[in-house]
């Protein structure tokens, strides 16, 4: 039966263990010794030549972290993490502030090439300048190449590694760092505050519409390296920025910890659109290896009429623990969350959002699409709350789950808290499998099971895909197909 054999081969070909992006780049790196202590925190701080206040800030977070307990409420299951068995700092060697692409290690460029970077950041890195995407490439822990800086500078936009911003714009960093996600926020955010390595810093001055989409490329490379990114984006009055974040990581046997923190601040009339495509190594078919993705992402709509929109496509990581949130503080502010979370193999996803309505006439919208296949567990966990003074708060939530196969799980845990009578909250959730009728209809028209599934799933997630910037949408659609292949037939 050649058809069956073909399917088997095909499935084998795209088996999760054959992770397409699994490879290791050999470049020398500069590491701190294993483990975590005040000395390591000081070491990281000193390495980056940080001012005294930041060192103290890190130490404060570290001391706080020692008193905290790892959260266990999420529906994820993993062996205890030995925090003393991790490296907390690793920087590719000889990258002390490269100013031009020529300074970038050619090995790095080859890495990007191998990744088949969807956004063509690679071309950007290689000097093809007609693409209007600025990249602050993060290779392991240190930003090694920043492009388009000059053009952005003309518009007054600051887009640089946060370690650089500490020196070039200390007043901004000092004012905003930790103001959305305080150092005491949660276990992983506190850990990040103590040891954060690097990340992007964006400041859009008043009234400026950022001339291009900003993008950061994350990549965890060095073995045993936790990556602790810290991103801070500030949109000043009346400004707009769209920020893209995409990730792939090389194959590993040991689990890698990633505890990033992203802070967004919008002032009056400003808007930030933050899009993520996350495709880190999910572990092999038995669930071995894979990234632990424990991320704290939060946006603060601090000003009137401001808006923050999160869009995410989560297909990778062994464990995802991620709740991009919006604090709707300013009157008339708006928060949005669009999410596609796909889990296959042994992946565990616990993701969702928080919409905290504090100001008057604030609105929020949550569209979450979860797809679980294989032996994975996919949980939506979200909070919508309106406080006493949040008159006329409005929320609409829709979370749908799709189950493929009988060994996976899909869970929905929404918390809806209305403390003002003028709030109007609507929440709906459904869970189902792809209906036989739909499959039959597609098959009748000559589509294979897999093609039919991909088609139906793409329809299922369309609402969210539409929110993605063009380049990402194309990549995301491809990713969805790749992630789900092998789950049927």
């Amino acid at each position: 039966m050649p058809a069956v054999q073909e399917t088997v081969d095909r499935v084998k070909e795209i088996d999760v263990s054959e992770y397409k992006y699994g490879f290791i780049t050999d470049i020398e790196s500069d590491k701190a010794p294993k483990g975590l202590s005040e000395d390591i925190v000081r070491f990281i701080s000193a390495k980056k030549n940080e001012p005294e206040w930041l060192t103290e800030w890190r130490l404060g977070a570290y001391r706080r972290w020692l008193t905290m307990r790892e959260p266990d409420w999420a529906r994820v299951d993993y062996p205890p993490i030995d925090y003393q068995n991790l490296y907390y700092y690793s920087a590719p060697k000889g990258t002390a502030g490269p100013k031009t692409l020529a300074d970038v290690d050619p090995e790095l460029l080859r890495t990007y090439e191998k990744l088949g970077i969807p956004l063509r950041e690679q071309e950007v890195l290689a000097g093809v300048q007609e693409r209007r995407v600025a990249v602050d490439a993060v290779f392991d822990s240190v930003s090694v190449a920043t492009t388009f800086k000059d053009e952005l500078a003309k518009a007054g936009v600051i887009f640089c590694p946060i370690s650089e911003a500490v020196h070039s714009h200390p007043e901004l960093v000092k004012h905003y760092l930790g103001s959305v996600v305080p150092t005491t926020d949660n276990y992983f955010a506190t850990l990040n505050s103590a040891v954060f390595s690097d990340g992007s810093f964006v400041y859009i001055p008043p009234g400026v519409r950022c001339p291009m989409e900003l993008s950061t490329y994350f990549r965890i490379n060095e073995q045993n390296t936790g990556q602790f990114e810290r991103t801070l984006i500030i949109a000043d009055k009346g400004s707009y920025v769209s920020y893209l974040e995409g990730c792939t990581a090389p194959k590993r046997d040991e689990n890698q910890l990633h505890a990033a923190v992203v802070e967004l601040v919008t002032l009056d009339d400003a808007e930030i659109k933050y899009s993520t495509v996350q495709n880190w190594y999910p572990g092999d078919a038995e669930g071995k290896g894979g990234i632990y993705n424990f991320v704290t992402k939060r946006g603060d709509c601090r000003g009137k009429n401001s808006k923050i929109s999160w869009t995410q496509v989560e297909t990778g990581s062994a464990i995802t623990w991620k709740y991009p949130s919006c604090i709707l503080r300013g009157d008339n502010s708006r928060g949005e969350f669009y999410s596609i979370a796909i889990s296959n193999g042994r992946q565990q996803v616990d993701s969702g959002t928080k919409m905290i309505h504090l100001g008057k006439n604030t609105t929020s919208r949550i569209i979450s699409k979860g797809i679980s296949a294989g032996h994975s567990q996919n949980t939506y966990r979200g909070l919508v709350s309106a406080h006493r003074k949040a008159d006329n708060a409005r929320n609409f939530t829709n979370c749908d789950s799709l189950l493929i196969g009988e060994h996976c799980g899909a869970h929905t845990v929404p918390y809806i808290e209305a403390k003002t009578s003028s709030a109007q909250f609507e929440h709906e959730a459904t869970t189902s499998k792809i209906s036989e009728d739909q499959m039959f209809y597609c098959r009748q028209r000559g589509l294979s099971d897999e093609e039919a599934t991909a088609l139906i799933v793409n329809g299922f997630v369309r609402d969210v895909l539409q929110q993605l910037p063009m380049e990402f949408a194309v990549e995301a659609q491809k990713l969805i197909a790749i992630s789900l292949e092998g789950s049927v037939g």
Partner: protein, 442 residues
């Protein structure tokens, strides 16, 4: 990394320890259920608090400031009080009277009738049969719910109602829980209703206070609905509601092709926690849980449900309505679990809340936990003010605002009453809702 934190007992918890010590060997002796072990389990975990997910919005540990001593067994005076009240009430079928937590055979009517037999909980615990005692114990659930341990430790009485296989009992069986309300006290009861294979019955659980002394009650009701059996269960309460604190647990188990409708009406401004645990053990069963909560002042009503589908082809429906006035707080938590293999499950859950005043609060937490792929499950939750356009429409036709509100609210609540019990029961429920709405207007 962090040391185990020792829990310090609250005043209420210390009081409970003291009360249990004092009561030991007294009225509670002679039962085959190990009260000591139950209390030890309670003492270990203490009262549930907000860190326990199922009690997130109802922090019993801080709500319960004091624990009252158990109510004493009925005296001549309280029995006389109950008799006066009973004389006003019409009775047709079986009526079980539980006064201040104690089963009262002489106040009850038709305890034995064709197809129905009723015994006192304490008698059953003392003399078996052991199968019934096992079903009364709900030990697996007790491990997670310390209020059930507390219930086991302090239970004063209750009824064990058995509907014989195949019996069709058309007259509702009434479980009447009266509290004399002359002195502050705690009432703890546990009851079991078993509906045999192919049988059908209607059970009306009615709670009434005859006085206005503050009370704390902890009721547990176990419903076993066997294969092809059908049960409608309706709970309502009336009377003085001033300082009442109630925790009521319903544990329902459904066999194959069984059918259960359970409805609860909560009104007033006390503290009420109603928790329901519905488990589908056999295929093709249907379970339908409904409720209306009408709350004002600083009333707090929490409905928490755990619906577990263990068998295939079952259907679960939940519909809960909250109307919240003044500074009342409504909580709805509903978890639908579809166990691996429970294919073809059809689950729908809906919680709707309407605010009538600015200070009101509604917490909704509908949850889905699904481990089987061929299912259709959904939930919805809404919270908001009455529809302005509908109000406008009515007012444009000359209906005063409050009346227009009442009309809309009545319609809002009516949906949850549809199909519950008998016509007479639905009438009583509709009337109760109407009364609450009218009292609001005055």
């Amino acid at each position: 990394m962090t040391a185990e934190i020792t829990r310090i007992n609250t005043a209420a918890e210390s009081k409970l320890i003291e009360l249990f010590g004092a009561a030991k060997g007294g009225v509670y002796s002679g039962a085959s259920l190990d009260r000591e072990a139950a209390f030890a389990r309670f003492a270990k975990s203490g009262l549930p608090h907000r860190r326990i997910e199922a009690w997130h919005y109802t922090d019993l540990r801080s709500i319960l400031r004091d624990a009252y001593a158990p109510t004493v067994a009925p005296t001549e005076d309280t029995v006389a009080l109950a008799r006066t009240r009973l004389a006003e009430m019409h009775v047709e079928g079986t009526r079980v009277v539980i006064l201040d937590g104690y089963f009262q055979a002489e106040l009850s009517s038709n305890l034995e009738q064709p197809g129905v037999s009723t015994r006192s909980l304490i008698d059953v615990l003392g003399g078996g049969p052991s199968g019934v005692i096992d079903r009364l114990a709900v030990s697996a659930l007790e491990a997670q719910e310390s209020v059930l341990s507390l219930n086991a430790a302090f239970m004063q009485g209750g009824a064990v109602v058995s509907v014989a296989p195949g019996a069709v009992v058309e007259t509702p069986i009434e479980l009447l829980f009266l509290t004399s309300g002359q002195r502050a006290g705690a009432v703890t009861t546990r009851s079991l209703v078993e509906v045999g294979s192919g049988a059908s019955a209607i059970v009306v659980e009615r709670h009434e206070a005859l006085g206005s002394a503050p009370s704390q009650s902890n009721h547990a009701l176990i419903l076993s609905v066997y294969d092809k059996a059908s049960l409608h269960h309706v709970t309502m309460s009336s009377g003085a509601e001033a300082a009442t604190q109630t925790v009521a647990s319903i544990i329902a188990n459904l066999g194959a092709d069984a059918n259960l409708v359970s409805f609860a009406l909560v009104t007033g401004f006390g503290f009420v926690r109603r928790q329901g645990f519905l488990t589908f053990n056999g295929a093709h069963a249907k379970g339908d849980l409904r409720g209306i909560s009408l709350l004002d002042h600083q009333g707090h009503a929490d409905t928490t449900l755990v619906v577990t589908h263990k068998a295939t082809h079952c259907e679960s429906r939940e519909l809960f309505k909250h109307i919240l006035d003044d500074e009342a707080t409504g909580v709805f938590q509903g978890k639908v679990i579809v166990a691996p293999g429970a294919q073809k499950t059809d689950g729908k859950m809906m919680s709707r809340a309407i605010f009538l005043a600015d200070g009101a609060t509604m917490y909704n937490k509908p949850e889905l936990e699904i481990f089987a792929d061929d299912v259709v499950c959904g939930h919805g939750a809404t919270a908001g003010f009455l529809n302005e356009e509908q109000l406008f429409y009515l007012r444009a036709r000359g209906i005063p605002e409050k009346e227009a509100q009442a009309l809309l609210l009545e319609a809002f609540a009516a949906e949850a009453i549809e199909g519950v019990g008998t016509d007479a029961i639905r009438e009583v429920l509709t009337e109760s809702v109407g009364r609450w709405l009218r009292q609001r207007q005055d």
